[in-house]
């Protein structure tokens, strides 16, 4: 299984953000997307997630389990946490777990994985930024999807949580998953390809 992009171009608001982008990412590997602000790191992630239209080129997941579009085999962790303050931590995670087609039984272990099981009954409004971030990471753990798209995944996380995230990412890669992360600094993976954007 590999994620492959050929001559990918992105156009937003009439302006070319990037064009002629090529990369391929085999299963079990991670790719860190770097580049200055506005180089199109986030746009690339959102494009793989199916949220930004592909202006030109091709994006495909070769040898995937099904014919489903790439977006339906990917998790997107953006700058926003997609958690509702008036629902409890458990209810928030349970909703996304069920919405993405996994069973309710996946919720508990996922909360455990990000050390939030003690707060399961608390409304999400009372969580700190870092805790909310961990709750959205729990979503990736609860529902198996092969591509993780992480936009600045370590932002708002303290050092122990960053280590925990790195462990979860290593587990995901070991299970044959792929990670595409946009970052300015190291994300805690020793072995990752790098895609420099805005270099041309």
């Amino acid at each position: 299984m590999q994620l492959r992009a050929e001559e990918l171009a992105c156009n937003r608001g009439g302006r070319d953000v990037f064009r002629g982008l090529n990369f391929s990412l085999p299963a079990g590997e991670a790719m860190v997307v770097t580049g200055r602000n506005g180089a199109g790191k986030s746009s690339l992630l959102r494009m793989i997630a199916g949220l930004v239209r592909i202006a030109a080129g091709r994006l495909a997941l070769d040898g995937g389990e099904s014919d489903a579009p790439v977006a339906e085999q990917a998790h997107y962790l953006g700058h926003q946490d997609a958690m509702k303050p008036s629902l409890t931590v458990g209810e928030n995670l349970q909703f996304w777990t069920e919405f993405f087609g996994a069973g309710r039984h996946a919720v508990e272990p996922a909360l455990d994985a990000v050390d939030l099981s003690l707060l399961a009954g608390l409304p999400a409004a009372y969580l700190s930024a870092g805790q909310r971030r961990r709750l959205s990471i729990a979503r990736l753990v609860a529902v198996p999807r092969s591509i993780w798209l992480l936009d600045e995944p370590t932002s708002a996380l303290d050092v122990p949580s960053q280590k925990r995230l790195a462990e979860l990412m290593r587990d995901h890669l070991a299970g044959g998953g792929m990670i595409v992360a946009a970052a300015h600094g190291p994300i805690g993976l020793e072995r990752a390809r790098e895609l420099k954007m805005g270099a041309a």
Binding site: R12, R46, A49, G50, L51, V52, R53, A68, A71, E72, A74, Y76, G78, H79, Q80, D81, A82, M83, K84, P85, S86, L87, E91, Q94, F95, W96, E98, F99, F100, G101
Partner: protein, 222 residues
Amino acid sequence: MNALMALLVRDMRLAIRVGGGALMGALFFLIVVTMMPFAIGPDLALLARIGPAILWLGALLASLLALDRLFATDHEDGSLDLLMMGSLPLELSVATKAIAHWLTTGLPLVLIAPVLGLMLNVELHAMGWLALTLLAGTPALTFIGLIGAALSVALRRGGLLLAVLVLPLTVPVLIFGVAAANAAIVGPAPFGPPFTILCALSLASLVLGPIAAAAALRHGLE
């Protein structure tokens, strides 16, 4: 199916909890209808004659009230991105959100309308018919409003734009809703034809609303 149920339950929970809009519409409806007799004066015959129109107009405005938040909150916290990445067609997710919205804001209007009818001197036997026209017509209001909500999702102050976009489209619903209610209460025109058209409007918007709204969302989020 599980995913749709999860979305339905989540949206209803959000509407009922703190900051949700479930009771806002019903309260607004109550206030508008209560103020009306004060403005018109104590002419009971006149009130009875225009009662159905006032109830329908009140329900129309009340059902628009919470509609602008339908997608806006999900857009602001990033939930909408994830809803679009689900394996369900966006049309179905959008329709489910609309159903949850109707159950928490449209249905309460139908339920309190008979009580408000008392204030407008609508006769007791007519109350049931009036509520029936609202039951048949308010889904059309929600599902037409859905399109406006999807179009104005990315705008910070989309509420007014939503009203301007949606209200003209709801004119047929208003006409046939009031016509059916009047037919049931004062006659002499039969109740059947306007009521059937009202049902047809609801069914058509049930199908077209989600398709148009999903297209608007896909286009608007670029």
